[in-house]
Structure formats: C-alpha cells, structure tokens
C-alpha cells in the first residue's frame, strides 16, 4: 500500500503532512491536558507515561531484537533507587541523577546481555527472571537503600524550580516521554535498528552479513535497560515512596504483557498497550465503585466468592485480555489498527 521509492523515504521521521498534523494535534493536546482534567487524571497520565517509557524500551529488546526479558522490574528498581540515592547522598541535581541511574541500569543490562548471547527461549526467560528477583532481594538487604522499610523521595527541584504537584511533574514527565519515544522510533530506522531486526529474524544469517552480534545484542539489552532505569527514576517521584516489594516479578510480567498486548515490533503498539493496561490497572483497583457492574459484582462476591478478595478480579480480567488477544490477534492492538486501516482504505473492495 505504502510504497517506498528510496532510502530517505524509509528513514524520514514523518512520512506525510497528515502525520505532522496529527502529531501537532497530539502535542497540543498533551500541553493542554493538565488544564482540562482533574488532578487525579494528571496523576494517571504520569503513571501511564512512565509505563510507556519502559514498554517502548522493552519493545526494542523483545519486539525488535527478539530476546525475552522477565527481569525489567530489576532495571526499573535500579533506576528508582539510583536516582533517589544520587540526589540525597551525592546531592546531584535531579536530571543528572536520573541520567546516571539510567546509565547504571544500562550497564547492568549490558552485563545481563552477556549470558543472553548464548541463551534463547525458556533458558533466557529463567536467566532474566532470576536477575530481576536477585536485584530486588539485594536491594532489600542494603541498609543504605532503606532495606525493607523503603525510601522516601527527596524534594524534586529541576532547573531551580520546586515541583511538588502532579501537575508540575507532568510537564517534566511528558516531554521526556515524547523525547524517548521519538528516539526509539528513530533508532529503529537506523543501522542499529536494522541490525536488531536482522538478529531477531535470523541471527546466523545476520552474523554472516557482518552484523556484530555481540555488540548489537548487548546494546539492545543496554538501551532497553536504560529506558527502564529512566522510567524507574521518574516512578520514584510519582509514588514519592519506594520499597523493594514494589518491583516484583509481577511488575516484570506486566511490562511484558503491555508490550505484547500492544503489539511487538512497532513503536505505536506498545504505547497503546501501555495506555490500555495501566489505565485498566488503576481503574480496576477499586472495582466495586464502577457503576452498575460494581453492585452486581458485590452481590456475586457475597453469595459465591468472598468480599475480601474482590480486588483480585483484576487478575482475572487481565488474564482474559491476555489470552484473548494472543488467541485472536497475535499482533496485538497494533494488528487490529492495521487491519482496520487496510479495510477502510480499500473499502468497497
């Protein structure tokens, strides 16, 4: 449908004026968002944006390079703890601390990438999973990091301004998110991105064509971990309080889920997945207050299940979404979008 006539058309950032227009609309909407909506929704937007950063980074690893990671909560934790520690102990400014924490996460990602050179499938899954669990355990044992009690975030001062409401924080998170997403999209269009895809599709063939597998695989892990680290640093200031239990295996699974539900191997897909699932995650935490369904669920719980466990319905809903998406639309939300677009573009035929 969309034919590329030369190389530059393939790599350009915006392929048509229509896309520039919609991108401008999106930016304008994001700028006006905190003035239109209530404070709670600004908090939701921050939460979603942070998930978008992680999932876009994770997608570079899972969707583009074809490696699986069940340990991203570990990098997320490194970013969160690193940022707070560098701010409160080394008295670095926020952005510098965030960058350093992200780089530390990236270095750990590089280290995890080394064994990953030889592993695939379930072996890689268990190695990354073990990595994530180990990080949480280690953090929980170090006194400097607050141990099991957790850490409080210091005051957030960026460029001389104190950001202490969600609304002010929004204007820090959203530009960073847009920047990182654009960077990820550009990365996939360059030599590096093509090397990632080549490794995913046929690593041996890629190697014979001169792609340095050692370099690009570890780089995919490092970049992806950097994204998770930066997002973790921001997350620490959304919650203002972090403890090791937050960064559980469940969190890693949620990140992977968001990427897969959105659609692997695209940039827009994971964004859609992150928005949908993190919004559902927040909404379903108080499921009984949802109109109509809530009352019915309460009755149902009283007579057949239990009221204390009612919040666990969100697991069931997530599970059903996952299973159905994988069964009927393996390309995820992005696949649905592509199919719809194709259908309308060629409509009468």
């Amino acid at each position: 449908m969309e034919m590329k006539r030369d190389y530059y058309e393939d790599v350009e950032l915006f392929s048509s004026g229509v896309i520039i227009f919609w991108f401008a609309v999106l930016i304008a909407f994001l700028g006006l968002y905190p003035f239109i909506f209530k404070n709670y929704y600004v908090y939701v937007a921050n939460y979603i944006a942070i998930n978008i950063i992680v999932v876009v980074g994770l997608n570079l690893l899972v969707g583009y390079t074809g490696q699986i990671s069940l340990g991203h909560a570990g990098f997320f934790a490194v970013g969160a703890y690193g940022t707070i520690i560098f701010m409160s102990h080394a008295h670095l400014p926020f952005l510098a601390a965030l960058l350093i924490a992200g780089l530390i996460a990236a270095f750990l990602g590089f280290l995890l990438g080394l064994p990953a050179l030889r592993l695939e499938g379930p072996y890689l899954a268990i190695a990354t999973l073990g990595f994530g669990l180990t990080i949480t355990q280690v953090i929980g044992k170090i006194n400097l990091l607050g141990g099991r009690q957790g850490l409080h975030a210091p005051d957030l001062i960026v460029l001389g301004r104190l950001l202490d409401t969600d609304r002010e924080f929004y204007f820090l998170v959203i530009p960073l998110t847009v920047l990182l997403v654009l960077f990820a999209r550009n990365l996939t269009k360059t030599k590096v991105g093509r090397a990632f895809v080549a490794i995913r599709d046929a690593d041996i063939a890629a190697e014979t064509m001169g792609v340095n597998i050692l370099f690009y695989k570890t780089m995919a892990f490092a970049v992806s971990a950097f994204y998770a680290g930066v997002a973790g640093g921001l997350y620490a200031f959304v919650l203002r309080f972090i403890e090791p239990e937050l960064f559980s295996l469940f969190m890693s699974i949620m990140f992977l889920t968001m990427a897969v539900v959105g659609g692997l191997g695209s940039v827009m897909g994971p964004i859609a997945g992150a928005i949908l699932l993190s919004w559902l995650d927040l909404e379903l935490r108080n499921i009984l207050s949802i109109p109509y369904i809530g009352a019915w669920l309460q009755e149902l719980s009283k007579s057949y299940f239990s009221l204390t466990g009612v919040s666990n319905i969100q697991f069931i809903i997530f599970g059903v979404i996952l299973v159905f998406i994988m069964l009927f639309e393996p390309l995820g939300l992005y696949g649905i979008w592509i199919r719809t677009k194709k259908y309308w573009k060629t409509w009468p035929f």
Partner: protein, 291 residues
C-alpha cells in the same frame, strides 16, 4: 559434618517438591514446547478444591485428595483443548504470554474466592512431627514428600516405558509429524499430557499445603522447579529431577554456610552460571540450529 548432612537432607526434602513441579513443566515443554507459567496455578486450584471439599462438604481427606487429582486432570485437559490448541500461528513468546494469562485467571479465581488469608489444610500427617535418624532430624511430612516424589517418578518412568499411551507421548514429543503419520492422535496425546502434568503438580501442591496455604504458595516451588528443569535441560525428565534436587541442596547449603538472607536467590545465580557454560542445560543434547 552432622550440620552438612542435615542441610543435605533438608535440601533433598525441599528439592522433592521442586522436582515434582519441574517434572510437570518438562512434560508440558516436551509436548507443547512452551514453558508453562500456569503450572503452579494448575496445581493451586485443585488444592483449594480439595480444601473446599473437606470444609464445605465434610468428606474424608482421601476422597478430597482423589477429587483434587481428578479435577486437576480435567483442568489440564481443558486448558490445552480450549486455549492452547486454539492459538493461531503460535510462537514461543505468544505461548508464554498465554500461559501467563491462564496463570492470572486461575490465581484471580482462587484469591477472589479465598482472599489472601493463610489457611491450614487438614492432612493425615502432622507437619510438626519429625523423626530422628542417627542425629539427623527430618520431619515426617518431608519424608512423605520425598517418598511420594520417588514413587511418582518411578511410576512415570514405568508409564513412559511400558504403557501404550506413554510410548505415544514419547513419540509425539520426539517428532510430532512422524508420530501423526504412524497413526497417533497427537492432539489428544498432548491434551492428556497437560492433564497428567497438572496432576503431578497437584501432588506437589497437596504436599506443600499443610505447611503453607495461600494463593501465592505455588510461586516459589514453580520458579525453583522451573529453574531446576532448565539446569537439567528442559527436555529431560531425569534432568529436571536432578536439577531440582541440585537447586534444593544448593539453597540449603548456601543458607547454612554463607548467608540465610540471600538463600532464595542463590539458585538463580548458579543457574545463570551453569547456563553460561552449558547453554542448553546439563542433560539435554545441545540443539544445533540448521539454517
């Protein structure tokens, strides 16, 4: 020396429940080529069903256990038949996500019904009683776990060696197309494999339940069993058992001699090291990809 032997014995006892979970995972991995993250919850639901049978209907414990095993068989078969088999163009990541989805559904149902409270499963043997051999303590429950695990492993071995269905399963796992050409209904064989795997898991669950019973009780055995199976090579049943015992023993030795705090993660570190040296585990034939 006594300390060392004591740790070995405790490690082997814990390793037995890991081994059962690992066996279940390997059975499914060989049949459907998916690391089954729902393995733990496929055991969790039957265990809570047994609890419900005992408490709500007042049936004897053995009847409840039998009911749980039967339920596990049906549950495993249903999951394969209704969900896994329906996957379009399955790739490994997609299948992993499906099993994670199933895991969430099952754990959601259990914790919706029972909340997060700690419960106690009635069991014929007290979990506090222990016997002393020489100077080594072993709780009777651990001993029972060990014996049941060994009996089950022998039963599985006999099943795969001598029964028609077992041989059909082995054939399906080795080469599905050839098996189908030989007249084996591979789909049905896979379904039954899932059922048997769920039963093996449920046995582990029932043996864990007297000491700890809450919705997250199967996570740790599942991960350790998975880790053990990966060390053993993921495609070898004896390998999975061996790997799971290794994990159990390393855990206890590390906990006893080095640090009790990092006991639960040391297994994963060892596994990463093992995998660095032998990427397909200790017992699997190294798989060479053809281009």
């Amino acid at each position: 020396m006594i300390d060392f032997l004591q740790m070995m014995v405790s490690g082997i006892a814990v390793g037995s429940s890991y081994a059962l979970m690992g066996l279940g995972m390997v059975l499914i991995y060989k049949a459907s080529e998916v690391p089954n993250f729902a393995q733990g919850e496929m055991a969790l639901l039957p265990v809570f069903i047994a609890y419900m049978i005992i408490h709500s209907y007042g049936l004897p414990i053995y009847a409840a256990f039998f009911g749980a095993l039967l339920f596990a068989l049906i549950l495993g078969c249903c999951l394969e038949f209704l969900v896994l088999r329906r996957a379009k163009e399955p790739n490994i990541l997609g299948l992993i996500i499906i099993t994670i989805g199933l895991e969430m559904i099952l754990i959601g149902i259990v914790s919706w019904k029972f909340g997060a409270d700690q419960r106690t499963m009635p069991f014929p043997i007290s979990s506090y009683a222990s016997i002393i051999i020489g100077q080594i303590y072993i709780s009777t429950l651990d001993l029972l776990t060990l014996i049941v695990a060994l009996v089950l492993m022998i039963a599985l071995f006999v099943f795969f060696r001598f029964s028609k269905l077992g041989i059909a399963m082995k054939a399906t796992q080795q080469n599905e197309n050839a098996a189908r050409l030989m007249g084996i209904r591979t789909n049905r064989v896979k379904m039954i494999t899932w059922g048997i795997s769920a039963m093996v898991g449920t046995v582990a669950g029932l043996l864990i339940a007297p000491t700890i019973m809450e919705p997250y009780m199967m996570w740790d055995p599942l991960l350790k069993g998975f880790a053990g199976a990966v060390v053993g090579g993921m495609t070898s049943l004896p390998g999975a058992v061996f790997g799971a015992y290794i994990v159990g023993i390393i855990e206890h030795l590390f906990g006893g001699y080095v640090s009790i705090e990092f006991k639960s993660v040391v297994a994963f570190v060892v596994i990463v090291l093992v995998l660095c040296i032998k990427p397909s585990g200790l017992f699997a034939r190294h798989y060479v990809k053809k281009v």
